[in-house]
């Protein structure tokens, strides 16, 4: 273990170097460009054995990743925002072909208007594509999660994306505990594919036409793999925790034990929110925080367990549903709580679009609004925080 100062981009690129994948196919896009740049220098300086494909688009990046993974290689890529959106079609194919590809994703707003800063509209757009989604709170977690994701993907036979907030994490220097190269290699082990295209003595057809008689069964199997993925994610996180001392779960509870009011967040906002919770606790408010780390597979059980005794919940979405009932995280959290006899009231708060800064005062306002709602003040189900209206 060594302590270094790294941005999330640098840390994720280092994780890729230590994983030393067989193939990386990637395309530059702000704010994830550095990952591709740094990794290219690893390739050109001979620090990895990886064959790097500098493709002509993100669609081809993921297509080449699919081909390489189907050929039995260990495969990674990196992208953000429009790049992830351009991959959309092939993301579904990677997942349904059950190929364990890992994306180092940097969260950035989707156009239009064009904007290069953080929100979660890009990864929320592909939340049902069949990819495991891990949202990092900080660069350390981004680094640790990329290493875990490679192992999770290969054990669950599902692709995984690890995401970190654009600029807030991707370009901000942080103290990072880095593992030794050998530790990473020992942790992920050797990649073995049960069947692949290069086994010419056992030819297989990958990606056939699948009609009314089989398609549904294959999609059901894919869903089943995702349903079993939480166990794999927990197992890998436990092993990581035991070996390296940093523990991760599907969700993270912060001062929730006796909380009456809670907010739910994803990503780097959790850092600011934890401070705000502390500040409000000091003032005597019984408030807490739930951070969803793994959004796919959706950890409904853990969320219900964490929130069912709270009086009111404010779910903060860094992506808008645009005329849906609320933000995407809100809708799923609220739906998960629906069956509980005693359940909190849940409100949606959309914030931080296009990199709009979120400050403790904004989070305090969310708490204040849900506390007011509890006292009988009528508030909207869907609220926009930090916007001029």
């Amino acid at each position: 273990m060594k302590v270094v100062a790294k941005t999330a981009n640098e840390a994720m690129a280092e994780a890729m170097r230590q994983i030393n994948p067989d193939v990386v196919a990637a395309y530059p896009i702000t704010p994830a460009t550095e990952i591709v740049q740094i990794f290219s220098s690893f390739v050109h300086d001979g620090l990895v054995d990886t064959e790097f494909i500098a493709v002509e688009s993100e669609h081809s990046a993921m297509s080449a990743c699919i081909g390489a993974a189907a050929a039995g290689a260990r495969v990674m890529t990196s992208t953000s925002s429009q790049g992830l959106a351009l991959m959309d079609e092939v993301l579904y194919i990677a997942a349904a072909l059950r190929l364990p590809i890992v994306i180092c994703e940097i969260n950035r707003a989707l156009s239009a208007p064009i904007n290069i800063h953080c929100d979660h509209s890009d990864t929320m757009n592909v939340r049902d594509s069949g990819w495991i989604q891990i949202y990092a709170e900080d660069s350390q977690e981004a680094y640790d999660s990329v290493i875990q994701a490679m192992k999770i993907a290969e054990e669950a036979f599902l692709p995984a994306m690890v995401t970190a907030d654009g600029f807030i994490l991707s370009h901000a220097m942080q103290r990072i505990d880095m593992l030794e190269d050998e530790e990473v290699q020992a942790f992920i082990g050797e990649h073995k594919s049960p069947y692949n295209l290069l086994d010419i003595y056992n030819p297989i057809t990958i990606g056939p036409l699948d009609l009314q008689d089989y398609f549904f069964e294959h999609k059901r199997q894919e869903a089943d793999a995702m349903m079993k993925a939480p166990e794999v994610i927990k197992k890998v996180a436990d092993e990581f925790g035991q070996k390296f001392g940093r523990k991760y779960g599907l969700v993270e509870e912060y001062r929730l034990d006796d909380a009456e009011y809670a907010i739910v967040v994803i990503g780097s906002t959790a850092g600011t929110a934890k401070d705000t919770v502390d500040m409000m606790r000091d003032k005597g408010h019984k408030v807490g925080l739930l951070r969803i780390r793994v959004f796919r597979p959706f950890p409904a059980e853990e969320i219900v367990k964490a929130l069912k005794n709270v009086r009111v919940v404010g779910v903060m979405d860094r992506a808008d549903g645009v005329n849906a009932y609320g933000g995407p995280v809100f809708m799923e959290v609220r739906a998960a709580l629906y069956e509980e006899e005693k359940k909190p009231d849940v409100y949606s708060f959309v914030y931080g679009l296009g990199g709009r800064d979120v400050k403790p005062v904004d989070i305090e306002r969310v708490f204040q609004m849900i506390m007011d709602a509890d006292k009988g003040k009528k508030i909207d189900r869907l609220n926009y925080i930090g916007v001029r209206e």
Binding site: D22, V23, A25, D49, T50, E51, I53, A54, V55, E56, S57, H59, S60, A61, S63, A64, C65, I66, G67, A68, A69, A70, A71, G72, A73, V75, E89, V90, I93, L97, L197, L198, D199, I200, P203, I204, T205, I206, G207, P208, L209, D210, L211, Y214
Partner: protein, 310 residues
């Protein structure tokens, strides 16, 4: 380049098995068999979404006796570039030793149109792969819609021979020359009617390390409106009327591989196909003249390139 021994070829293992659901008279299935008889068993193929992928892989059946990959419509070149890269990575690590051929197939829709970017990228990057376009001049799988490979004047369901606009009003994109302009080591145009020529080109392309491209004319009875027995006849006439010159661009040098002693007027090719029927109406005759003039011009240009050693 050796002469293809037809007797030997006839005895090669069928790697594209019977039982697929292609139409009677399909040109593409003939092309696939000709290609595979040269490529052999140590070959991985990729297919763009299209007729051939649809008819050959209806789960739980497959017509493929060799590894087969289909991902989507526009990305077969990218997907096979990934397979080929994985091969190099694993070979470097000693995990694979055998020499394997990588062939990407796409129809003209998946190659000239929606897949052009991925194809251009793969060719520029220099992957050791052969891309074969089976060019039937329209989106046949979805029901005969015009593509940028559709010949001038042809009727398709999105360029119908209407009362005001008589079919497709644009000349087809010259993809073979676009590929040649990429500066890749080998580009060719072939026709299944000249199987020796086609197979020699495939053999040559596979023997070259680096990206290679062959554009193959693929008659389609359904989309061209002709009797299924005439597939090879039409594929031959296309060459004899200058519609589809057989040539190669070997390391940047053009060479016409089949030079018919006597050319037939393009009318003979056009009149066999229902998609050109409206051209024979009095008011549309100018279109046939225009096609002939354009084909003559393009043939002359090709000969000049060859003569100049370009």
């Amino acid at each position: 380049m050796g002469v293809i021994d037809i007797k030997k070829i006839a005895k090669t293992e069928q790697l594209f098995a019977p039982g697929h659901r292609a139409c009677a008279g399909c040109g593409a299935t003939i092309i696939i068999r000709q290609v595979l008889s040269v490529a052999g068993k140590d070959t991985v193929v990729g297919f763009a979404t299209g007729c051939m992928e649809v008819v050959s892989t209806i789960f739980p059946y497959t017509a493929w006796e060799i590894p087969f990959l289909h991902v989507a419509f526009e990305n077969v070149a990218a997907a096979i570039s990934g397979v080929e890269t994985a091969y190099r990575a694993l070979k470097k690590k000693g995990k694979i030793k055998k020499k394997i051929n990588f062939i990407a197939f796409g129809g003209d829709g998946g190659t000239y149109d929606i897949g052009l970017q991925a194809l251009s990228g793969a060719m520029e990057r220099g992957h050791d792969m052969l891309y074969i376009c089976y060019d039937n001049g329209a989106y046949m799988n979805t029901g005969i819609q015009r593509s940028s490979a559709t010949p001038f004047g042809a009727h398709t369901t999105t360029s119908p021979a209407g009362k005001k606009i008589p079919g497709k009003m644009q000349w087809r994109k010259d993809l073979t020359e676009i590929m040649a302009s990429h500066g890749v080591p080998y580009v060719a145009q072939a026709s299944p009617a000249y199987y020796q020529d086609l197979m020699q080109k495939v053999e040559k392309a596979l023997s070259i390390e680096g990206p290679t491209f062959i554009d193959v004319l693929s008659p389609c009875p359904l989309g061209w409106y002709y009797a299924t027995k005439d597939t090879i006849k039409i594929a031959k006439l296309a060459v004899e009327t200058k519609y589809w010159p057989l040539y190669e661009v070997d390391n940047g040098v053009h060479r016409v591989t089949v030079k018919p002693r006597k050319f037939k007027p393009v009318e003979e090719w056009l009149k066999m196909q229902g998609r050109f029927r409206h051209l024979f109406k009095e008011e549309n005759k100018w279109m046939i003249e225009y096609i002939q003039k354009e084909l003559d011009k393009r043939w002359e240009r090709l000969l000049k390139l060859e003569e100049a050693g370009l």
